[in-house]
């Protein structure tokens, strides 16, 4: 069986136009190209089957499931505090936020009160992880566009964030720091000062990224007006997070349905604006790749703002609620969504009176955002496909779960 047969069999909805098309004296035909799952710019193990006509991509069908690990099913055989490490492995670039989402879901289900200090530290770490995750997104988006250097700069700063995470919880990628009922351990001595020092260092660096990448003429030419998602489309496809705000919809669960005391902090929800106004480059359309990218840059500034407020008024007290081991889950169900760096990460948990949930289901932002790939990658250039996929910023660990 040839490669083309395999592709055809796995994608029956994709019909290749094998009839030869006459163009003047030239006889041409369409070509199926298999992009991924080991392609450098599909951000993990996403496989996209492209139907191409020369450099034009007529259709792109994403295929997922290469990283499926039964993450939700595992949750139905473990106590909630045991399941926390598995949530890290979903969106592995934003482990803190995943921990937080599941922890809040279980807390709401059981009616646990989280101490004020734990809530503030959760906010600090969630925002810190949002910065780290957006740094990866920015850097790899630069890589997709062929700019190598911003990637290294972003990772340099992310490395410092990971150092601070390591100081607090001992892990650099899969933290399991935010647990059911609070946080795992209190902050080590001097952590707040080091964190503030980092924030002072980090804020001017955002201007560097803007000068080097965001407002680079080539970069703007590559991303502005490419992959435009209209407001209706964004809502219809269930986009959340930067892709939704990149289409100009001011929707952020931290504002809309505050959790962990986000209502106490003063911050803005940046949305995309069209080009030519307020230093937004000409040619930018609301909902295009550049807008989605730039919303992330602006969000990093807001995260720094939230972190500064939280670190300035860190309450004293406990960091963990009492009695979280052998927690009996009531015969009830709960769905809690939080604002992950990539959008709305929701956990649905149902208890049946025992210590183990009878159903765990995650609503992942990457999975839902990825659904827009096919409509966006219709009649675009081949080089636009990485631009569009990169601007949606999916993490395959969370798509496949």
């Amino acid at each position: 069986m040839t490669m083309a047969d395999t592709v055809l069999e796995s994608a029956p909805d994709l019909l290749v136009d094998t009839d030869r098309v006459e163009q003047g004296d030239l006889r041409t035909e369409e070509m199926l190209v298999n992009m991924g799952p080991q392609h450098p710019s599909t951000h993990g193990v996403l496989r996209v089957v492209l139907r191409t006509d020369g450099e034009m991509v007529l259709e792109a069908i994403p295929h997922i499931g290469y990283l499926h690990r039964c993450a939700e099913k595992i949750g139905e055989s473990l106590a909630p505090y045991q399941y926390i490490p598995y949530t890290d492995r979903m969106d592995y670039l934003a482990g803190m936020n995943n921990n937080q989402a599941f922890a809040i879901a279980v807390e709401r289900l059981c009616g646990l009160e989280v101490p004020a200090r734990a809530q503030a530290i959760r906010v600090v770490f969630a925002e810190f992880n949002r910065i780290a995750s957006h740094l990866v997104s920015l850097g790899t988006y630069g890589l997709d566009m062929g700019a190598f250097t911003p990637f290294l700069y972003c990772f340099r700063e992310r490395e410092m964030i990971l150092d601070l995470f390591e100081a607090a919880c001992g892990a650099r990628l899969t933290y399991s720091y935010i647990t059911v009922g609070g946080i795992h351990e209190d902050l080590p001595a001097g952590w707040v000062e080091r964190c503030l020092e980092f924030l002072d260092y980090f804020e001017p660096k955002i201007d560097d990224y803007n000068n080097l990448l965001s407002f680079n003429h080539i970069f703007v030419k590559r991303t502005a007006g490419v992959g435009v998602v209209s407001v209706d489309e964004a809502i219809a496809y269930g986009l959340t997070g930067p892709p939704l705000r990149g289409s100009g919809i001011r929707w952020d669960l931290r504002k809309v349905l505050p959790y962990d005391g986000y209502e106490m902090y003063d911050f803005d929800v940046p949305i995309a604006r069209s080009g030519g106004t307020d230093e937004i480059p000409h040619g930018v359309v609301v909902g295009d790749c550049w807008s989605r990218y730039y919303v992330r840059v602006l969000e990093m500034t807001q995260s720094v703002r939230i972190m500064r407020q939280a670190l300035a008024n860190l309450p004293d007290g406990d960091t963990e609620a009492k009695k979280i081991k052998n927690l009996k889950l009531p015969d009830d169900e709960v769905y809690v969504g939080i604002e992950n760096p990539r959008g709305q990460l929701g956990f649905y948990v149902r208890g049946d009176g025992s210590t183990i949930p009878s159903r765990v289901k995650a609503r992942g932002p990457s999975f839902c955002n990825l659904s827009i790939t096919t409509p966006l990658c219709r009649n675009v250039m081949l080089a636009d496909v990485p631009a569009i996929i990169g601007s949606i910023d999916v993490v395959m660990g969370e798509v496949d779960r």
């Binding site: 890589l143 290294l152 410092m160 080539i218 081949l382």
Partner: protein, 524 residues
């Protein structure tokens, strides 16, 4: 077959062949000998390598030049000898044909004066085949050394730009042996031809790519007399052979039987063929101003220091230099025009299926072509082997050995061409590690709708300017001199700004990465 059985054959007792093991042993012994010395005295070794190169070049000049002078002095007494028209052209035009040399030996009065030359140590030097073999050896050596060290240097430059260190381990001092080590690794890798590939074409393609860039070295002058074959149409020849490189690339893409490779090859073809036109047009501008296609001839008119370089001679040449540089980036497939091997779109483009030695041949070809393109830019626009100092400042030096050396170091010599080419190479690396990649439609737009009309205007403008300056009008001469001074000053400001910014960055290289990094970063 169980799940854990291995479907392939077990390895033989000796995994490598005899030749491979010999290469490893040789590399190990060379490394064992060289590494302790090089890592202990890096600066001294670097400086002595530069000095040795200069001395070698001067010795070459003294040896060949002096022998030729002696022979010509003897030959002018012969009746059938026609003296050379241009003393700067290569010795093959000096009229020292084998029949003349034979006549020198037969003629008794002459033979007495050149006997010492022709009979003893310098006897082989008179034969052109000897000179050609020596020259080819030197060129081939250069051709091998340039890519190896440009690759190492590119990695160091990339490291500095990206606030990391680049290679630091192999060889000790700043990873100087990284590229040779990589080369050994690549040579020893498995010789892999994909099952569906067209075997003969797949094997042939790297050679079709590398030979054109090697051919370009044959006509490339490194100094007034350092050229293997002095061609009247050297510029056209070099552009032509470099353009032939695309054949190998298309062949590589097609023979690989990989869709990404075909994409890369087709992009390379359309990009290179489009950009050859503005590149050639941009080179026509100085050719019109000077009136020759010979690279030596073009370089000759740029004697006299910074302000007499062609790039500063008129606004059209100045703009043509910029156009040439941009177009050459595209035809060399360097960033931001590196679409044929765009790894975020095409995996690795036309080299996707290549590995090992064949893969390294593509990179040798690319980096050697980069050097050739930069050397042409230096010769045609930036004074070639003439230094920014006017040669008239060294008028009293005389013609001795020391004077030849000083002239080569200060006023005109291959070292200046190398210096300028390497600077332009650095600009290419700098651009590569700074800019994102352009899309293919934008690449073609910028060629066909921007560069092509622009270079046409430049050619026309240069023609008018040249026509105006042939009249020996006093007013026009003043305008020309003023233009030279203005454009030269712009160039000076550019270079000064570059040196100032680079110096600032170097001086503050630790502070720029931030206080938090300074303590942890190794080597900082």
């Amino acid at each position: 077959m169980t799940q854990f059985s291995v479907p392939w054959q077990p390895r033989p007792a000796h995994p490598y062949g005899m030749a491979s093991r010999a290469v490893i042993a040789l590399a190990q012994s060379v490394y064992g000998f060289a590494a302790p010395i090089v890592s202990r005295f890096p600066g001294a070794i670097l400086i002595s390598a530069v000095i040795a190169t200069c001395v070698g070049v001067w010795m070459h000049s003294v040896l060949f030049g002096w022998v030729d002078t002696q022979l010509i002095q003897a030959a002018v007494t012969l009746p059938d000898y026609t003296p050379p028209a241009l003393s700067l052209l290569s010795p093959s035009t000096w009229g020292l044909t084998p029949s003349v040399i034979h006549a020198l030996r037969v003629d008794e009065t002459v033979a007495a004066s050149v006997a010492g030359l022709l009979d003893y140590v310098l006897w082989p030097v008179q034969f052109w085949i000897v000179r050609d073999v020596v020259g080819l050896g030197a060129l081939f050596g250069l051709f091998n050394v340039i890519p190896v060290y440009v690759i190492w240097w590119e990695r160091k430059v990339a490291g500095r730009i990206q606030s990391r260190l680049g290679p630091m381990r192999v060889g000790g001092w700043h990873g100087w042996a990284q590229s040779p080590a990589d080369g050994i690794k690549l040579i020893l890798k498995e010789d892999l031809v994909p099952a569906g590939a067209d075997g003969p074409l797949f094997r042939l393609a790297p050679y079709l790519t590398i030979i054109p860039s090697l051919l370009a070295f044959l006509a490339l002058p490194f100094g007034a007399t350092y050229v293997l074959r002095e061609l009247d149409v050297a510029l056209v020849f070099i552009l032509g052979v470099l353009g032939a490189e695309v054949v190998g690339v298309i062949l590589a893409g097609w023979a690989s039987n990989n869709k990404w490779s075909v994409y890369g090859a087709m992009r390379e073809a359309c990009q290179m063929i489009s950009y050859e036109i503005p590149m050639g047009m941009a080179l026509l501008v100085p050719v019109i101003c000077v009136g020759t296609l010979s690279l030596s001839g073009i370089a000759d008119v740029q004697q006299g220091g910074w302000f007499s370089w062609i790039a500063f001679s008129n606004p059209f040449c100045f703009a043509a230099f910029v156009c040439y540089f941009i177009a050459s980036l595209a035809s060399l497939k360097r960033a931001p025009f590196d679409l044929p091997e765009a790894e975020s779109e095409l995996v690795a483009g036309f080299v996707t299926e290549y590995s090992g030695f064949r893969w390294s041949l593509f990179f040798f070809a690319e980096y050697a072509a980069m050097f050739v393109i930069c050397a042409i830019a230096s010769i045609v626009f930036l004074g070639g082997w003439h230094s920014p100092l006017p040669a008239s400042w060294g008028g009293g030096l005389g013609d001795g050995l020391l004077a030849r050396g000083l002239t080569g170091l200060l006023f005109s010599g291959p070292i200046w061409l190398m210096f300028k080419s390497v600077f332009l190479l650095y600009v290419q690396l700098w651009l590569r590690w700074t800019l994102p990649r352009i899309r293919i439609d934008q690449v073609l737009y910028s060629c066909i709708q921007v560069l092509l009309p622009l270079t046409m205007v430049l050619v026309f403008g240069a023609t008018v300017w040249t026509w105006a300056s042939t009249g020996h009008n006093a007013l026009w001469s003043t305008v020309e001199a003023a233009t030279r001074i203005i454009l030269g000053s712009i160039g000076l400001v550019f270079i000064g700004g570059f040196i100032a910014i680079a110096g600032y960055g170097f001086y503050h290289r630790r502070r720029m990465v931030g206080n938090l990094v300074q303590d942890v970063m190794p080597g900082s």
